[in-house]
Amino acid sequence: MKEIVIIEWKKLWHSKLTVLAVVLLIITCIFLNFATFFVFEADSSGRNATIRKEAKGGMLNQEYIDYLIESLDVYELDAAAWYDLLQHESYSNAFQFIGFVKDYSDNQLQDILSNEESFYQQYKMAVSKEIEHANLFNWFSYTAEHMARIDNKIEQIQTPIEVGYNRGIGMFIYQYNTLYVLVLFVISFVLSSIFTCDSPQGIDELTLALKKGRKQNFNARIITGNIVALTIYAIFIGVMLIQHALMYSLQGWGNSLQSYWVTAIYNISLGSGVLIILAHGLLTVLLVTNLVMLISIVIKRAKIATLLSITVVGALIQLTNTSNPLLLQLNPVYFATQRFNSRWGFEFYYFIGNIMIPYTVIVLMLGCLYFFVIRLLTVKQYKRYTLQ
Amino acid sequence: MILQITNLYKSYRSKEALQDINLILTAGTYGLLGENGAGKSTLMRILTTIDFPTKGTITFDGEDIIKLDENYREMIGYMPQDYTVYPSFTAQNFLEYMGVLKGIPKEELDKKIPEVLAFVNLSEVANKKVKSFSGGMKRRLGIAQAIINDPKILILDEPTSGLDAKERIRFSNIISAMSKDKIVILSTHIMSDIEAISNHLIIINKGQLIEATEIENLVEKVKGKVWEVVIDQEQFNLLSKERNVIRRKQEGENIRVRYVGEPYEGLENQSLEPTLEDYYVSVCL
């Protein structure tokens, strides 16, 4: 099996279409990342892109708060000044965090920042309100017991949180969500010919007539297809990380998750949060990969299989624009691109009785279910496959 | 009607595909013979202006065929070695398409298509998709499109490749039937087809012109030099080192051998009437 996988791997990478697709993906990502960099980071003259990498990092504790009050005269800031601070200032995380609490509180800023304990109490209340508010747009509603469970988890958020410069990571996440769909299109082009009878990478009479020409060969192609998709995904992430590291630096992996996703209730670092998102993305890549290969084995004609694969991927992407939350949450593309209702959210929760199940777990379960169905349908085609 | 090739060279990067080809072709059938990679298809592509020479000229009745441009292409019918038709085309669609590109007016085309289909015995499958055709049917369809504009010059690249014996005979008869007053150039590896159809033979080897003359003249060159013996393996091993073996056939313990050259001493050599194949093997292999 290993030998067949290696041969199929080489065949795929020898295809000019594969190489071109990956090269175009890399070039497009590099170009769009630079374009975004210049548009987002240009100053008011529209010219100089400035990044303030020197950051006052550390725990957002009383000392930090006092420092902000003294050095930046926060109580005197108007809306425009807040905006500037959020965009370009080194303390942007902290201001984002404080701003969130301010928006949900009826108190004055002086009261909010009077002491650390009260600040974080108000923060936790704000998180609870935000989660409850976000639930209004979901297809199910939290009961009072559910909210009590959530509030219990919120209470367990470790404070003070660690903040610091993390613009590079933030922009990486932003661009990842925007450009991720390109990976799915590349996979559609590269793998839609893997089982067709009219392409060099596909199936021919010679193959079918061999001892290992059906089940083993077909399984080897499925494995190869998944490895190729993984490779393409890894190249995509690599390019994004390297470029953002060069443009912004990737400081801030150790910051609290809440320094970016303010209402997250996990006590993990920002880096771990990013890894979870990348894992979601990987799941979707593998699902789409196997779906494209199923289309290939059913359709058997390269052009039509490619067209259908692109149409299906395009439809899945377009369906993420729905306002129906259930449809959205069932969509594999939504698993990957984390387009939550609220900018602050990292996760939302389902409940079975009083057991709280994060969406990430649902994603895993749904992913397994989809994969199982696709696999079943694919294997059914093995014996039926003919060249006509 | 004279197609003249003068000092023709064709190079691709480091390879000389054709070197100093000089030919004068008038009405008749010319078999173009050569090994794989000899330059036959290259010559044909240049004659049809699909490709262009690196050096040299080709003229038709004194005028450069490149300058003649579409006026020259109007006079040719070409069937390449490899071609695959658009999958959605039926035989009718395909001939319509080619007929329009050849500049045949619609009214004339409507008459011509059934004629050529009948000529190649494909009338019954006119509305069937070409992708469902057998190899022989595709070749006949290729002939149909090549002759639909009643060309003065017919260029056929390996037209009988992949055909069974019956199809080859049918094919040969079709070519023979329409080769009057035309220059027909057909390339093939199959000697019997050349002998059956062509009066002239052009031999190209490694891009160079080896021979261009009437077939009778060539066969004469090996008259009295073609022999047949029945020998054992040991004798065969010796014979094959010193003579051009054309055929060998195992007959039990012995081998029946046909060879060209001086009769091998000590054997019961039987003299045979030479064929074109004998000449070709003796010259080119």
Binding site: L17, L25, G46, F185 | T84, P87, V100
Partner: protein, 380 residues
């Protein structure tokens, strides 16, 4: 030449496929129109339907009037409180012109309705304009006839507002159909056969380009006609000559057009956007020569166009002329940019046509040149 164009069109698009496309467009148009009609139901505060869309629209068809001082006074005095569309439109338009509730308008404010409207329209449109352009804008606004004629034009409003989706889809999808004109299928090889024919070189190249334009145009015209006719059959053909300022969407538009004129402009700009992408597709396919390679490159070009972020400058100079942005028709009527060529001020809808003409010419020339170069035929 005509025959060659015909056979190339027949090769690319069969009647069966065209009927499938028409079927899709027809279904989409019907579903879209039904969804749009449902927006005209009127509900009370407890979400009970008090007026059906049919009643609402049929009653509104009977009313056509000018938004003059008398009408404004009547509205302020709440003389017309029925929930019908025509009545709500009047209140909404009046309210849009002021920062206060309609009932609180004073007599002075009513009198100065149109001077206020002219000022608001100019200011609204002048956000991104230079001083010189603001003056041109003021002159444009002054040419809009007042009082504004109101009336039933829901058919045309819906056509103009909702045609964005179908036009954008046509612009982005149709180019893929014409890839096989110049690009080869892996299993098809007729190049040599065609090249060796009388018209198989220069003429075939030109015919293929014209065929590409023709196929795209046929599909575009048929699809847009079906969409427009279906919508108008649902809503009625009335109001074609009413000014676009009679809708809330374009109340502050400085462009003096009727709905029918707006539809024609939108259709032309959409067609220009389509041809731009078609010529780009032909160029890509003549270079790449293979169907899947061309499709891949085209997908990435479209992705780059859609995903490239732009600041306002870049959007002004380049972004607005990307095919998928050209179909964002609002850009031309609400706060339009202004352009200058040789000292003349040009509105964006003219500029879009002009730019796309230039781009189409460049791409077409390149396509012909590259195609003939590969056939080694010199350009005459």
């Amino acid at each position: 030449m005509k025959e060659i164009i015909k056979i190339e069109i027949k090769r690319i698009i069969r009647l069966k496929n065209l009927l499938v496309i028409i079927g899709f467009v027809f279904m989409y148009s019907i579903i879209s129109s039904i969804n749009a009609i449902n927006q005209y139901h009127v509900y009370d505060s407890s979400n009970q339907r008090i007026l059906s869309a049919r009643e609402n629209l049929s009653e509104s068809k009977k009313h056509q009037f000018a938004l003059d001082e008398e009408m404004i006074k009547d509205t302020v005095a709440r003389k017309n409180t029925n929930p019908h569309l025509y009545n709500r439109l009047v209140s909404t338009l009046i309210a849009a012109n002021y920062d206060v509730y309609v009932e609180d308008l004073s007599a002075d404010e009513i009198e100065t309705f149109y001077s206020r409207w002219i000022a608001a329209t100019t200011v609204n449109s002048a956000k991104t304009l230079s001083q010189k352009d603001i003056k041109s804008m003021e002159e444009m606004v002054a040419r809009i006839p007042v009082p504004i004629q109101l009336g039933y034009a829901e058919g045309w409003k819906n056509v103009n507002d909702r045609m964005v989706d179908i036009v954008t889809s046509l612009v982005l999808i149709t180019p893929f159909l014409v890839i096989p004109l110049f690009a080869k299928d892996p299993k098809t090889n007729m190049t040599d056969l065609c090249t060796a024919t009388k018209y198989g070189k220069k003429d075939l190249t030109k015919a293929r380009i014209i065929a590409g334009f023709t196929i795209a145009s046929i599909i575009y015209v048929i699809a847009l006609s079906i969409f427009a006719l279906t919508t108008l059959l649902f809503f009625g053909f009335d109001g074609a000559n009413l000014p676009i300022q009679s809708s809330l969407h374009y109340f502050f538009s400085p462009i003096n057009l009727t709905y029918f004129q707006q539809f024609l402009w939108n259709a032309c700009i959409g067609w220009a956007a389509l041809l731009t992408l078609i010529t780009l597709t032909l160029l890509v396919s003549v270079i790449s020569k293979k169907v899947l390679t061309a499709a891949l490159v085209l997908v990435f070009i479209i992705a780059i166009m859609i995903l490239t972020p732009m600041d306002s400058n870049l959007h002004y100079y380049i972004g607005i002329f990307f095919p998928h942005n050209m179909t964002n028709f609002t850009n031309y009527y609400a706060s339009p940019f202004m352009y200058h060529i040789f000292g003349s001020t040009i509105l964006p809808h003219y500029m879009a046509i002009l730019v796309s003409t230039v781009v189409v010419s460049i791409f077409t020339t390149l396509t012909v040149w590259i195609s003939l170069k590969s056939l080694k035929q010199p350009l005459k």
